[in-house]
């Protein structure tokens, strides 16, 4: 029988270009902040999972478990890096959840971290492409933006949708980030701004893409056994945690628009949590590109295929709408320090469930769902969080 798992601490660094801070600086900052927020002694943490995608490529640094443990003063803890491309953070959280749910460990921590700004843009592009098939996709000169652009074009053609309607998702995210002190961009963007930004890979424009940045976010989790020994003012439970893979390369999928991984993982996580899609009060979708945000809304059942964009236009993604989404700015405006994103998403939901979301607060938010994607949804990680008190 799996034990119940709770989030008892959360911490993060602001997402941005941190020239003065290294990968380990950011990871340690977030981790210690989460531990402090949990009000526990760091020696209570029995396992540490470090979610990160590109430390090997960009920093020449692997072995992040031992590195972070050493620099955070937690030597001895069971620690290792978890990698699942852009879903590394979510995957690391899944590991942390499994660890605590199994009872092998009672209190664990997870930190998602990425340091992207030390490298040249073309090298970051190449490093991100390690998430794709090196021989038969990267070999063609495709970039990540390009692969998503292929899907975007298919969507627009199949459903006769105008690009502006999908691009509007970015406008929404920027609006939501204005009140998020952790966000990389806190300035609103208009649809005009988005549609006149330079083409990166047709039809995707610059302001439809999540930015490059540095960041780290961390969570402390514990199970019921830990709570029995340490009284704690807990508000958030990890009610569901699931991972699914899809055919790695989008062009090889029978239906490139299907988002099969999201459906599968969401079903499993929601079943575990005992909820349905309509029960979700606050949603975090992996909008590395605007089209992914729209496709996810459809895959999760919030709109029929080809109609996800209407939710944006009709204001249903706002805190007062039918399905408040990316209320802290999402990947587009809060930022997307790749390995950190999966944790940032849950960090954003935790703040909502704790009532700490400020002007973006969703009244009475009780259930949150976060979807973290690896590659072009080759890996999908879904977490469901529930306010317990």
């Amino acid at each position: 029988m799996a034990k119940r798992v709770f989030v008892i601490g959360a911490g993060a660094a602001k997402v941005g270009e941190h020239w003065d801070r290294s990968l380990r600086d950011l990871a340690v900052e977030a981790l210690l902040a989460a531990i402090k927020d949990a009000g526990i002694d760091k020696r209570d943490v029995e396992a540490l999972y470090v979610g990160n995608m590109m430390s090997g490529e960009l920093q020449g640094q692997e072995h992040l478990g031992a590195l972070v443990a050493t620099w955070a003063g937690m030597v001895g803890v069971a620690a290792f890096k978890v990698e699942a491309a852009c879903a590394s953070g979510g995957a690391a959280l899944h590991q942390a959840y499994l660890a605590a749910a199994s009872g092998l460990y009672d209190c664990v921590a997870v930190v998602g971290v990425e340091k992207m700004t030390d490298a040249l843009p073309s090298d970051v592009t190449s490093a991100l492409l390690t998430a794709e098939d090196q021989e038969y996709v990267v070999f063609t000169g495709a970039t990540f933006v390009g692969l998503n652009a292929l899907v975007y074009r298919m969507y627009l053609t199949k459903y006769g949708v105008k690009q502006e309607d999908v691009a509007r998702f970015a406008v929404h995210c920027h609006k939501m980030a204005v009140n998020n002190p952790y966000a990389q961009f806190r300035r609103e963007a208009t649809l005009e701004d988005v549609m006149s930004s330079p083409l990166i890979a047709d039809p995707i424009r610059l302001l439809e893409c999540a930015p490059v940045g540095d960041g780290a976010a961390a969570l402390v989790l514990c199970n019921e056994d830990f709570l029995r020994r340490n009284s704690h003012d807990v508000l958030v439970e990890v009610a569901g945690s699931a991972v699914a893979t899809d055919v790695l390369s989008v062009h090889e999928r029978k239906d490139p628009l299907a988002m099969a991984g999201s459906r599968k993982a969401a079903e499993a996580a929601m079943k575990r949590a005992g909820i349905e899609a309509k029960d979700v009060d606050v949603l975090e979708v992996h909008d590395a590109f605007t089209i992914l945000g729209i496709l996810t809304l459809e895959a999760l059942g919030y709109a029929p295929p080809g109609k996800g964009w209407q939710l944006v236009a009709e204001g249903e993604l706002e805190p007062g709408g039918k399905i408040p989404t990316n209320t802290m700015g999402g990947l587009k405006a809060r930022g997307h320090p790749v390995g950190g994103t999966g944790i940032y998403q849950v960090f954003d939901i935790v703040r909502q469930l704790r009532g700490e979301a400020g002007p973006s607060q969703v009244e009475g938010a009780e259930i949150g769902l976060a979807q973290n994607l690896g590659g072009v949804a080759g890996t999908v990680v879904i977490h469901v969080l529930r306010r317990v008190r």
């Binding site: 073309s122 021989e135 996709v137 070999f139 000169g141 292929l150 990166i200």
Partner: protein, 133 residues
């Protein structure tokens, strides 16, 4: 990047890249590229090697304007999902065509071209691109 200058890697894949060597799944009938042992769709083993047809049509395409480091200087170029006669889908560059001329559904044919070089004095990686038929 280490893999970018690996000679054995290129040598190993050459038949698949030069001759469009795909695989036919004896169980579900899927045609995939490149050839491999296990079918990604049904999970069964034993795909038969087959040189895929050299004509197809464009399913979707994009124009890369900010390439990765090993394609620097080649932009803008078109990357497309091409569905070959028979149904196998490949990802490839389109060539001998201006980005504005590319249309979904366009008929294309395979040609043998240079994709990239492993550093300015490294070996040249050749492969299949597609041009308007």
């Amino acid at each position: 990047m280490v893999w970018a200058e690996s000679v054995p890697r290129v040598w190993r894949e050459r038949a698949k890249k030069y001759r469009l060597l795909g695989g036919k799944c004896p169980s579900c009938g899927s045609l995939v590229y490149p050839h491999r042992q296990v079918c990604p769709h049904c999970g069964r083993e034993g795909l038969q090697p087959i040189e895929l047809p050299r004509r197809g049509r464009v399913i979707s395409y994009t124009v890369i304007r900010h390439p990765p480091s090993d394609f620097a200087g080649k932009e803008p170029y078109v990357v497309a999902i091409v569905e070959l006669e028979g149904g196998a889908r490949v990802l490839a560059q389109l060539t001998d065509v201006r980005p504005e001329e590319v249309k979904e559904g366009m008929e294309v044919e395979a040609v043998f071209r240079r994709y990239r070089e492993q550093s300015p004095n490294g070996i040249i990686e050749y492969g299949i691109k597609f041009r308007p038929a």
